[in-house]
Amino acid sequence: MAQAAAVAKQPRAGRRRTGAAPRRLPYLLIAPAGLLMLGFIAYPVLSVFYYSLQHYNVTKPWKNGYAGLDNFTRIFTEDPLFWSTLGFSAKWVVVQVGLQLALGLVLALLVNQTFVGRALARALVFSPWAVSGVLTTTIWMLLYNPSTGMSRYLADIGIGSYGTSVLSDTGTVFWAAVVAELWRGVPFFAILILADLQSIPKDLYEAASVDGAGRMRQFFHITLPHLKDAIILSTLLRAVWEFNNVDLLYTLTGGGPAGVTTTLPLMIANTGIEGHDFGYASALTTVAFVILLFCSILYLRLSKFGGDR
């Protein structure tokens, strides 16, 4: 048995020797990354799970200690904020990612064509990619400002009225935030899709047009199937990112007005950092983590990622 194993191993060892590499080399190479991730990702994650089972509130030290599932029962049965927050998170992710995908796909198809000024057009339409959440907030605060923003100039030419603040109205704040986030989110999506568009061999289109396929049919039979994996992956990454991202909403709306733009991560940050209730925040974190994991697996299953194409 052992002999068989040794024999089976030999060709591998032989192949490895051509690299003249000591067996330890790969471990040495991943050690820095591995240690950093153990210390600053794995350990914090485990401690979040640990804290979620504890009462841990800096302002109420007399209550601290093992809590069992108290924090979780509080989330699901006693906290009305949790469900509305979860609803807003879902709405935010679905609307945001859906629009980003649609617009990003169109944008990528447009700048993939050859036309005069393409390089400049690409650089310009992709430029908000580089912009941060806080900077996006800065820019859109200036545009949304009720007295000197866009609305004033639009009112001057007869659209809308003076002094409306889209950010303090519970009816408009959602779409105001969506537009601001789209502004910088679409280019990112478009870059990912464009990268994949360029790996489609042009001959396929030539062959298809010889066979008499119109542009629409070419799009649905060549372009989309080719992009499928890239779209699935980037949609998933974006959804997770949009779910987790707090920069924009934290600075643009602060979760308001009246809490209508509070996402789950925003609620966690508020509970943990401002409310000092680390135990409850950790339990919320655990719930968010489970939801993300579950949705991701479900999504990959439903989209049959990596399966037969």
Binding site: L29, V45, A121, A123
Partner: protein
């Protein structure tokens, strides 16, 4: 990617003149029209609308930054730099700028070096924990940075690194690492092993072979990854907000947030601060834009 390359290669090698169809020019013209010659207006009109959506906000920020306070003109004339002067000196954006630069460059160097080592191991070796490690890299993408704030805060407090830029640099590097490593190992896989092996045969050590043969070919990918790390840490807000409480340690996004949250918002100063925050990333972006697309297509999507 390799498959795609090979496919592209074979297609390119089919010599067009050998095509037996007699009306070759007509066929070609028709073929090109179908996939290349979309009517011009169908490109320029939607693109123009999208450009407006992209550029008007930028213009708005520039306008407020260089327009005298109280003016409502849509053309910023006469230009004034009082707002820049004010945020740079009175609102200490000069200090924030330095801090952000330091965090950005340190994160860039640390991320690239650590991810290069790890990416090489993942691309070129089979080792026991490799699959588990790859899985961990992917899973880490699902862990929200915001949710790690509390435990990270505790860790840095125990390390006595609260209020030091080091804490932010470490946190940014750690959260850049997984994606950077996945990308870099993808790039390295695209460099044929035979090139390295040839260098070994010529007597190079593995390290020398890597530096002389692989590294130059990785340049576009490394630029994409490095600039990604820089831009991310330059822009990222939450870690700096939470780990740095002294004002002279803050970074630009936090400075911007204080301007946004100020009781009476000074729009001119806010806009000027925004311009200062945007300039470095826009410069980086202008340089790497071309590599970004090729970098992604080589590393991320097919890697």
């Amino acid at each position: 990617m390799t498959a795609a390359l090979a496919e592209k290669g074979t297609h390119a090698r089919v010599p067009a003149p050998d095509d037996p169809t007699p009306p070759a020019p007509a066929r070609k013209a028709r073929g090109e029209r179908a996939f290349d010659d979309v009517p011009r207006w169908q490109i320029y009109v939607p693109l123009g609308i999208y450009l407006l959506f992209t550029l008007v906000p930028f213009y708005w920020m520039l306008l407020f930054a260089v327009r005298p306070a109280g003016s409502t003109s849509l053309v910023p004339w006469p230009l004034t730099f009082e707002h820049f002067h004010k945020v740079w000196n009175e609102r200490s954006f000069g200090v924030f700028f330095q801090n952000s630069m330091l965090v950005g460059l340190a994160t860039l160097v640390a991320t690239t070096l650590v991810a290069l080592a790890g990416g090489y191991a993942l691309a070129r070796f089979d080792f026991r924990v490799k699959n588990g490690f790859m899985l961990a890299l992917l899973c880490s993408q699902f862990i929200p940075g915001a949710l790690m704030l509390v435990p990270l805060f505790e860790i840095f407090r125990n390390m006595q690194m609260i209020n030091s830029l080091g804490s932010v640099i470490i946190a940014e590097t750690v959260f850049q690492l997984p994606l950077s490593m996945i990308l870099i190992s993808g790039f390295i896989k695209n460099v044929p092993v035979s090139l390295e092996e040839a260098a070994w045969v010529d007597g190079c050590s593995r390290f020398r072979a890597f530096c002389a043969v692989v590294l130059p070919l990785l340049r576009p990918g490394l630029i994409a990854v490095g600039s990604f790390a820089f831009v991310h840490s330059w822009n990222h807000f939450l870690f700096a907000l939470m780990f740095l409480s002294e004002q002279d340690k803050q970074t630009i996004p936090v400075g911007l947030n204080t301007l946004i949250g100020a009781d009476s918002v000074d729009l001119g100063a806010l806009a000027a601060g925004g311009v200062i925050a945007a300039v470095p990333v826009v410069i980086v972006f202008a340089f790497i834009q071309k590599w970004l697309i090729t970098g992604f297509s080589a590393g991320a999507v097919k890697g």
